[in-house]
Amino acid sequence: MESGATESAIIDIEAVAGTTSSPGYRAQDVISATGLTKKFGPIEALSGLDLSVPHNSIVGFLGPNGAGKTTALKLLIGLSRPTSGHATVFGLDAVRESNAIRARVGYLAQDPRFYTHLTARETLEFTARFFFLGSKAAIRRRIDETLELVGLADKADRPTKGFSGGERQRLGIAQAQVNHPDLLVLDEPAAALDPLGRRDVLTVMERLREHTTIFYSTHILDDVQRVSDHVVILNRGRKVADAPTSQLLDGGCTYDLTVRGDAGSAKARLRGQPWVSEVSSTVNDGGEHITVTVTDQEAGDALLLRTILQDDSVAVTKFGRKHHNLEEVFLQLVEGQQA
């Protein structure tokens, strides 16, 4: 192993931190917040959050415990009032017009609670009656369809008192989308679910994407990476990243290579190139793994592989731009900010 060759993800924090725009990201925003701040006594739970969530997107809202995610979600649907700043949902003011907002939103709380004497079906009927006046039969059909969607059809007539955490979570998702909302705001939707339940929730979210915008908080980074178009990361009440998932995970100017043979002269040649800023490597059973950071991505794409292959003693078994996983990005951003 060469000196300083620890394999760490090199993430261009500057590129994602505070980024709020991408093509077409503002004009069609469902949620828009500017300087949204919430204080509880001396504690600032949320500090100047700027946020834009476009139509028909799935936006993952990430952050460690106590980062301010739940606070932000509650501010958006009017369960809480901001200390300062401003938020709109569908262009409606989140404080003054929260009833009109909630008529178009489905909300799932972090730990959903329902009236325990009501059955799942009665709970959904009670929820649906906030939105609809229609016939009993039509409401019953909608409820049956929703119960089927979340896999609670066989437990529909059981009082929710005996529901497990996972069943309550499924009911929570059902009540959040019984009105077919234009916006789903979900606070940890998969938190209490087993792997199968999680998979089902993600499938439902992907299915709803066509008609609905989804803004959800979670700790499960794999889920975010799988379904989200856009990621917002919050730490200690402040936004530390806001970017499309692909951009966040894109290694940018970093390349990963795996080579067989003696790569010493190839690495020396690389270091001599003006467009290469850093070369590091590790050796393992599969060969030597080299990470190259360049200052010019076009040069990297065009010249990097050629430069290495000038040496006949080296065989390249793997080559490509680096892709981070969300956990790397998340940890680097959060720990970076804490440091």
Partner: protein, 267 residues
């Protein structure tokens, strides 16, 4: 989109209420359901029949040489005086968790995440609990009292004045329902609600005679006396309209304070 969903879209008409009434009909349906589709209504009815009709039936049966008119008055007065105190205590004990409990359990936050105004949330409880207690603690026991009196007492009870007395008792019920719900909006725990509510009743019971008249007239302590005086058609020493008007104003004030506070609640 399936055919069933398309049909639903036609048949499901978006709710149209505005302002503070948003969600009121649905919340009222739920609150009334909690009274009348669960065992709550018959448990409450049983309690008040035992307390109010039990005591007054014993009085009716034990005339102890009283004149007929005296016996009627004794039974009627006992009915309203015991009722005014006992119903107040019953309401405070039953409703101390009506708001606080929902806040603790998280159901209030859940309901408030739907298109429902906070005013609707409080008003639906006020209407449903007032109706529930008025029916189970006044109307049903009064009907039973009148039937029992007609069967046992040597002299009939005057229905008109008795109905006026029931209306005064309705104000007593409304006061304690409003007070308890308003305290639920103001405090986070059940302790202060039960303490203040029951404390108010007990102070009236023990110290009513020692306090200045204007103070006593400004409380619900005299509503039992006012109701009894209407029922037996014997005006009291004080102007009985004063406590009625003052308590009605207090109900309004408490209701507004409770609603104002709940509208500022953070979930």
């Amino acid at each position: 989109m399936t055919a069933a969903t398309r049909t639903d879209s036609v048949e499901l008409i978006p709710a149209t209420s505005h302002g503070w009434t948003i969600g009121l009909a649905n919340l009222l349906r739920k609150e009334f359901g909690q009274w009348w589709t669960t065992k709550l209504w018959w448990i409450q009815t049983l309690i008040w029949l035992i307390i109010l009709n039990g005591v007054t039936t014993v009085i009716m049966l034990d005339s102890s040489g009283m004149a007929p008119e005296e016996l009627v008055n004794e039974a009627v007065q006992t009915f309203f005086l015991v009722g005014a105190t006992a119903i107040g205590i019953g309401i405070v004990l039953t409703l101390q968790g009506a708001i606080v409990g929902e806040r603790e359990l998280g159901t209030a936050a859940w309901v408030m995440s739907k298109p429902a105004s906070r005013t609707s949330f409080v008003v639906s409880k006020l209407i449903a609990h007032f109706t529930g207690f008025a029916a189970t603690a006044i109307v049903i026991p009064s009907a039973v009292f009148l039937v029992t009196a007609a069967m046992i007492l040597p002299q009939p009870v005057q229905y008109g004045p008795f109905a006026t007395a029931m209306a005064v008792m309705g104000l007593d019920v409304l006061f304690f329902v409003t007070l308890t719900l308003a305290l639920g909006c103001l405090f986070k725990g059940r302790g202060p609600i039960a303490g203040i509510g029951i404390g108010l009743i007990l102070v009236g019971q023990f110290f009513k005679g020692m306090l200045p008249e204007p103070v006593v007239l400004a409380t619900p302590w005299l509503l039992g006396d006012v109701a009894a005086s209407f029922a037996i058609q014997q005006p009291p020493e004080f102007n009985r309209l004063v406590p009625v008007i003052v308590v009605a104003m207090e109900v309004l004030l408490l209701g507004l304070v409770g609603i104002w506070r709940f509208n500022r609640e953070e979930f």
